[in-house]
């Protein structure tokens, strides 16, 4: 057991934890910040990604003691920080993920969003390949990544007032105006 003082989402937090506990364990089980997820506990999935001094870090591979004296940002910090800096709603990345349908089960997403956030902080207009690369340490099993990439591209485009990407199904469905879809009842087929 050792006393530990961490700088998380702008707060100085004190707790005590066994020496071998990881940053993820301390965040989740001592500080009650359960937004960071554990999918493997050995550095394979990225669900536990947090920002340490702005860099994405696997908190399951980081001893809590190693994070002392550094600025830690977890998913819980994004919305309050956005509000504090005068924004409305949630962080643009969070909002774009929500609007684009990228949050299915949501388990990979705290880590995914923090990786995305570190990318857009470092690179104002990353290419699709750069986005894929930046997110390649975060496994998602639900989305096939398509709507995640769309969400990141949407957030980037909206920041500069450019047009957000439009997936094929949106274009394709444009003719489906109300009333145009007919029920496939046998009677209708017969006439």
């Amino acid at each position: 057991m050792r006393g530990i003082e961490l700088d998380v989402n702008g707060d100085r937090l004190e707790t005590a934890a066994p020496d071998h506990w990881t940053l993820l364990e301390v965040l989740r089980y001592k500080l009650g910040l359960t937004g960071s997820k554990q999918g493997c506990d050995k550095g394979d999935c990225g669900a536990c990604t947090v920002l340490v001094d702005g860099q994405p870090v696997l908190s399951c591979l980081t001893l809590a003691a190693q994070a002392v004296g550094k600025e830690i940002t977890t998913v819980e910090g994004l919305r309050p920080m956005h509000l504090q800096s005068g924004g409305v709603g949630a962080d643009p990345i969070q909002d774009a993920f929500d609007r684009c349908g990228a949050l299915q089960c949501g388990f990979c997403q705290p880590g995914m969003m923090l990786s995305a956030r570190a990318l857009v902080a470092a690179n104002a207009s990353p290419s699709r390949e750069e986005i894929q690369k930046a997110l390649s340490g975060n496994l998602c099993r639900c989305t096939g990544y398509t709507q995640i990439l769309e969400a990141v591209e949407t957030a980037i485009a909206e920041r500069v007032g450019a047009e957000a990407p439009r997936p094929a199904w949106v274009e394709d469905r444009e003719h489906v105006r109300e009333g145009e879809l007919e029920a496939r009842t046998p009677a209708k087929e017969a006439k």
Partner: protein
């Protein structure tokens, strides 16, 4: 009673206000901000942590277990073994062959033997080391053929002299006759490997027992109701003393649809210790728990006329079930029953046998039981097309079974947008300009499929509804929905919100949903067989219509107008003939509460009578089927054997898309998962039965870089019985991705891969074989030509 009797697929108020639009999900922001609570996020005061001791042997008798040293360790509160939970269970009531902890036999490496509750995980793990188990090792089976042929020892004592888990043989029409009279018969043997769900959240359960004697279990399950029943059975508790809650769940895909050992163990440990107990499995343990895709060995014979009409399909399938039954009875039926569309063939036979082996148990993975036969059959269809010189899309059109028809095995087909699906992917991929015309090494392949939207087989026989919804209207203007459904990320709570908001003309954000809590919510059978949108959606329409009638009646009485003049729309009640008259939903609810007393309603859904009139005829009989077409582009490197998939076009007929964005998400997730298992994933054990790589590093799941570009098309063949015409979207779009890839590989380099996964080694071997046979053919031709010359 059933909703399907009282509403059609049309909008409740002429035009849809909510349905058909890409609204946000009900829990999207909670998930985006880290606020959503998953099972492992639950911390209760005084909570203990539990761990499981697992078998190091693939097949062994337990001679003795001594837990005394573990119990003596400081910080250990309880140790349980099979003797504490001896009652057998299984998700299918006819095949209970699992116990929470092994009683006298272990059947795979990783089988659960004992569980410890301690002050923390470290102490619990230390205690596991102190449990002494003596085993007597038995012969273990890893090859399903051996398990089929050899009967000593049997893996389950209940099976007399064999290791057969389930055998089904059904024949419709004259298959052998069709083969005799056919112009073309194509035969092939195929192998489908195992793969696992890989949900990013590991299984986790928390239990507590209140002083009043109520057990509450929070579990990452996709079938709360069956867990509830299984707990009552195994713990021998009355079901009304048990409360099962599914918190937010981090992915499932079928992998959380059996009752699992940890659920019984935490409940028992909480009962013994009087303290809350949590068990979180490690990623490694999740691989042992498995319940993933069944490996299958499939032999197909397809008969056709020379103009490409399929006349008969004959299938023989050996299914490797792993160590327990799980859903195996259903798997065995599904392996045959779900192949009979979207094509019409007059004769069909399948002979499927599921055997036990000493491997992690298989179960339902996305596209349960039908992904493997679909792969084999759609490859056969490609060969038929090739041999007859017919375009592969054309042959699929030619054999399409149409709408409002019946399949050869007696399944009722209602709506089908399969032809539109084919059109969309054909156009999107520029098929006509590119198929057979791409440079060597690049190819396009097509395949199609069909899947169920739930079935009328409720797993345990009963006459009660398969899905239930309860509504409460509050005078604040809030409507709360109590839904039994398990939202596993697919968005069932969102769908319920959209439907209720649509019916009551409300702003969706004024509808809140409380789900999957057995104390509060009516029963729904669970998130499996793609049943939720269809069944729970219909129940939601049913409940909302009843509440709507009350609101409309109260408003009409208040305005002294006829009810048909009242419309609920966008958070208001309006009079269609007098624009002066407007009330808010809140006022309408208050009027109705004054008139009718406390406001609420219930709704339910049950399937109509469906299915063929033979044993097993209801398994796979669905109120509506979804349809899919895929075109996959594959690039094959002939030097290295490596396959890459730059792009996939997928069109899926989901009936009416209640929220097109969520539908697209389901389609894309399915495509990803299909390509992933075809190219990268392999769930297997080594020759000792040890899992070959139980980690997310060794079990290779695609990253954002590995996943192809997916072009999604939503086809909407509004179904007469779905909620507003909706059908399933979560499982169907996985199926045809795999055979379309196989067919694309053939278009690229002329080889037919019949064994999954498509590894570089298999590609290189097939290429070498092709070169040899071409060489032989060329050599033969040259020799013939020489011989001819000499005779002159």
């Amino acid at each position: 009673m059933a909703a399907r009797d009282i509403h059609g697929p049309e909008a409740p108020w002429k035009e849809f206000q909510v349905v058909g639009k890409s609204h946000r999900k009900i829990d999207g922001m909670a998930k985006a901000t880290g606020e959503a609570v998953y099972a492992d996020d639950i911390q209760l005061p005084g909570m203990l942590h539990a761990k499981t001791l697992r078998s190091p042997h693939a097949h062994a008798k337990i001679v003795s277990i001594d837990t005394s040293r573990a119990l003596a360790l400081k910080g250990v509160h309880a140790v349980i073994t099979g003797a504490d939970l001896p009652i057998k269970y299984g998700v299918i009531p006819w095949t209970p062959d699992e116990t929470a902890l092994a009683t006298d036999r272990v059947r795979f490496i990783g089988d659960e033997v004992a569980a410890v509750a301690a002050i923390d995980e470290d102490t619990a793990n230390a205690a596991l080391e102190l449990i002494d188990v003596e085993y007597e090792v038995l012969h273990a089976y890893f090859d399903p053929r051996e398990a089929l042929e050899r009967s000593e020892p049997t893996i389950h004592e209940s099976r007399k002299n064999n290791n057969v888990s389930k055998h089904v043989e059904l024949e419709f029409g004259d298959v052998d006759g069709a083969a005799e009279t056919a112009d073309l018969v194509v035969k092939g043997e195929y192998q489908f490997h195992g793969s696992t769900h890989g949900a990013i959240e590991p299984h986790c359960a928390v239990a507590k027992v209140s002083p009043e004697g109520v057990l509450t279990l929070w579990s990452a399950t996709q079938i709360s109701h069956y867990v509830h029943r299984a707990l009552a059975r195994v713990l021998e508790w009355e079901p009304q003393k048990i409360r099962v809650i599914q918190p937010c769940i981090g992915g499932a895909f079928g992998g959380k649809s059996d009752p699992f050992s940890l659920e019984f163990c935490v409940a028992k440990l909480a009962e013994i210790t009087g303290r809350p107990v949590k068990m979180l499995w490690t990623r490694e343990e999740v691989f042992y728990a498995h319940r993933g895709r069944h490996p299958m060995q499939l032999a197909y014979r397809t008969s056709a006329t020379k103009d490409g009409k399929i006349t008969g399909v004959d299938a023989k399938i050996l299914i490797d079930g792993g160590s327990y039954s799980s859903f195996g009875l259903v798997t065995t039926y599904y392996s045959g029953q779900l192949l009979t569309g979207p094509y019409d063939f007059p004769s069909y036979r399948f002979n499927s046998t599921r055997v036990f082996t000493n491997k992690p148990p298989c179960g339902p993975k996305r596209g349960h039981g039908s992904v493997q036969p679909r792969f084999a059959f759609e490859c056969q269809l490609d060969e038929v097309a090739e041999q007859l010189g017919i375009d592969p899309i054309e042959i699929r059109r030619k054999n399409f079974h149409g709408e409002h028809t019946q399949t050869v095995n007696g399944q009722r087909i209602t709506s089908s947008g399969y032809m539109e699906c084919l059109d969309k992917v054909e156009r999107g991929s520029a098929w006509r300009e590119r198929h057979r015309q791409l440079p060597t090494g690049q190819g396009l392949g097509v395949a199609g499929s069909m899947y169920i939207s739930g079935t009328n087989y409720p797993i345990y026989p009963n006459e009660m509804p398969q899905a239930g919804i309860q509504l409460k209207a509050d005078r604040s203007g809030l409507v709360t929905v109590f839904s039994g459904a398990n939202d596993i990320g697919q968005g069932s709570n969102s769908v319920v919100r959209y439907i209720v908001a649509e019916e009551l003309g409300m702003d969706p954000t004024d509808v809140r949903v409380l789900a999957a809590d057995s104390d509060l919510c009516p029963v729904d059978l669970g998130a499996y067989s793609s049943r939720v949108t269809f069944m729970v959606g219909n129940a939601a329409v049913d409940a909302a219509r009843k509440l709507r009638a009350k609101l409309v009646a109260a408003v009409a009485e208040h305005w002294e107008v006829e009810e048909k003049r009242v419309r609920l729309i966008m958070g208001r009640a309006i009079d269609l003939e007098d624009t002066e008259k407007v009330l808010s939903t809140r006022e309408a609810i208050q009027l109705a509460e004054a008139k009718f007393d406390t406001l609420g309603s219930t709704g339910a859904y049950n399937t109509p009578t469906l299915g063929g009139d033979y044993r097993g005829g209801t398994i796979g009989a669905s109120p509506a089927y979804s349809f899919t077409a895929h075109i996959v582009e594959a690039h094959v490197d002939e030097e290295t054997g490596r396959i890459t998939v730059p792009k996939v076009w997928c069109a899926h007929d989901c009936g009416r898309a209640l929220n097109p964005r969520l539908v697209a998400g389901q389609i894309e997730g399915s495509v990803y998962m299909g390509i992933a298992e075809a190219l990268m994933e392999d769930h297997k054990v080594n020759r000792f039965g040890l899992h070959s790589g139980p980690s997310l590093l060794d079990y290779r799941m695609p990253t954002a870089i590995d996943t192809p570009d997916i072009e999604t098309y939503i086809v909407e063949s509004v179904d007469p019985e779905g909620p507003y015409g909706a059908k399933e979207a979560g499982e169907g779009p996985l199926h045809s991705a795999i055979p379309a890839l196989a067919n694309a590989i053939h278009d690229a380099v002329g080889i037919r891969l019949r064994e999954l996964p498509f590894t570089p080694a298999k590609v290189l071997a097939a290429l070498a074989e092709k070169r040899m046979s071409e060489g032989a053919a060329a050599g033969g031709a040259a020799a013939k030509a020489m011989a001819k010359k000499e005779t002159h």
